[in-house]
Symmetry: C2
Subunit: 268 residues, 2 copies
């Protein structure tokens, strides 16, 4: 079993209550890596027998610190329309809701299509060095990061000169795993905090809300294989304790498979 | 009372159940304008006595068609942390959940700040003609749209040549109203479907999920007055019935006050 499947594994306790557990391999500063939490909530819906269609969007709010150990995931089917289905899911520990999410699924049908966005021209992943393991956060070692322009260099302190928030990075699981909605949901949170790039220094921050949009269905997913995806991430504004972070995930042949936005809490 | 306040008015029925009604003045193709629905869910939280802090983000999912008439709004306080508060809200008609939302509020505190994004250089609103009223959707008449480069011209049919998805437009309430979180939430959905711009034609589409992020607190809001905000909207991809749409709301002096993303269902 791939470590990402082990980390997002859920056991059904009753019709709409599942049980999971945090996984040390995906630990971040102060709790499980948010991408794995999002993927766990995604899995609760994907594995429900009432599920119809493929994920179109997910919004996850990180509502409390998730403690090491077991948690329950409670899901509610909100509405099944002609082709679109809506879910609400909570991750609970004791009487604390530690994360909640809304999800949209759809039976996609073939329509006129157009990709107005273009992937940036960057070197292929094999031309770039992988980031070496990070001794701060275990989850970093579960993935391969190949930054365009070289790995970011972080210092002990911000020198007062803001740098660009934008970065381009080839992303993959360290042990390659065919892309699916669990993998894409996880990857949607795989962009280091933009404040690290702007300030050139690393310190604890907390994603508060993350939304991901999937521009590919199950049928198209097979073509992705387990090859690295190009992530392009940026931010607009850092203000009074919150910054936004936007990102795109591209295939090597320039197809946009997912877009994501999050808002992050910082103290600096 | 401003028409936007009338349209989003809620009467408290019990502690966490409020009652509202759809408003003909903000009618769209097949239901109430989604921005007003989002603002109504926002108001349910803003007017709750347990509310702490200012909105940081809201995600609204449009789960079913909202029928003309009364609806109830049910809110649940999910979690109050040290400075961040999480809510879950539903709009119900009979036993149908027609919209649901998660919201994040926070007591913002002064931190280091940086705006990495820059507003585009555009003519001031008074140099641009307002869009004339649209006889298709009542809600259009409740706002003032001053498009940079002139009002978009729509034809009966798409000619097969995709145009740019990007547009810049000065936005305001037709009857000016001081900006607040009700107004900004409404304005977050005030960008015509990007597919209209790309195809150059207008037809019914449906927002499925909308997220808005607020980069301003109550304290900064006063400085906005009731002056027009510059909206910059774009899209990345149109594929198998869904397209994404991203937008920014800027003040005339270049401050980014809100960013928003939505995913829209289309048949074309």
């Amino acid at each position: 079993m791939h470590s990402l499947d082990a980390a997002t594994r859920l056991t059904r306790i009753s019709c709409r209550r599942l049980r999971g557990a945090t996984c040390p391999a995906y630990w971040n500063f102060g709790g499980p890596f948010g991408g794995v939490t999002a993927a766990t909530l995604m899995r609760a819906v994907l594995e429900d027998s009432s599920r119809q269609g493929d994920p179109v969007s997910i919004t996850v709010n990180y509502t409390a610190r998730i403690a090491e150990g077991d948690f329950d995931v409670l899901s509610r089917l909100i509405r099944t329309g002609r082709s679109i289905q809506h879910w609400y899911v909570e991750l609970v520990q004791g009487d604390v809701v530690a994360a909640n999410a809304t999800l949209v699924l759809a039976n996609r049908s073939k329509t006129w299509g157009h990709q107005s966005a273009r992937a940036p021209a960057v070197p292929p992943p094999q031309a770039l060095a992988p980031l070496s393991a990070d001794n701060r956060s275990a989850f970093v070692g579960q993935f391969e990061f190949r930054f365009v322009g070289g790995a970011p260099e972080f210092r002990a302190e911000f020198d007062g000169q803001p740098r660009t928030a934008r970065s381009e990075v080839w992303l993959n699981n360290a042990v390659p795993r065919p892309w699916d909605f669990i993998g894409l949901t996880t990857a949607s949170d795989l962009f280091f905090g933009r404040i690290y790039f702007v300030q050139g220094t690393v310190f604890p921050i907390a994603t508060v809300s993350l939304s991901a949009y999937f521009h590919i269905g199950s049928a198209g997913m097979a073509a992705l294989g387990n090859r690295a995806l190009l992530g392009v991430a940026d931010a607009n504004v850092f203000e009074d304790g919150f910054f936004d972070q936007t990102a795109q995930l591209w295939t090597a042949d320039g197809r946009l498979v997912a877009t994501t936005t999050q808002i992050v809490n910082y103290r600096a």
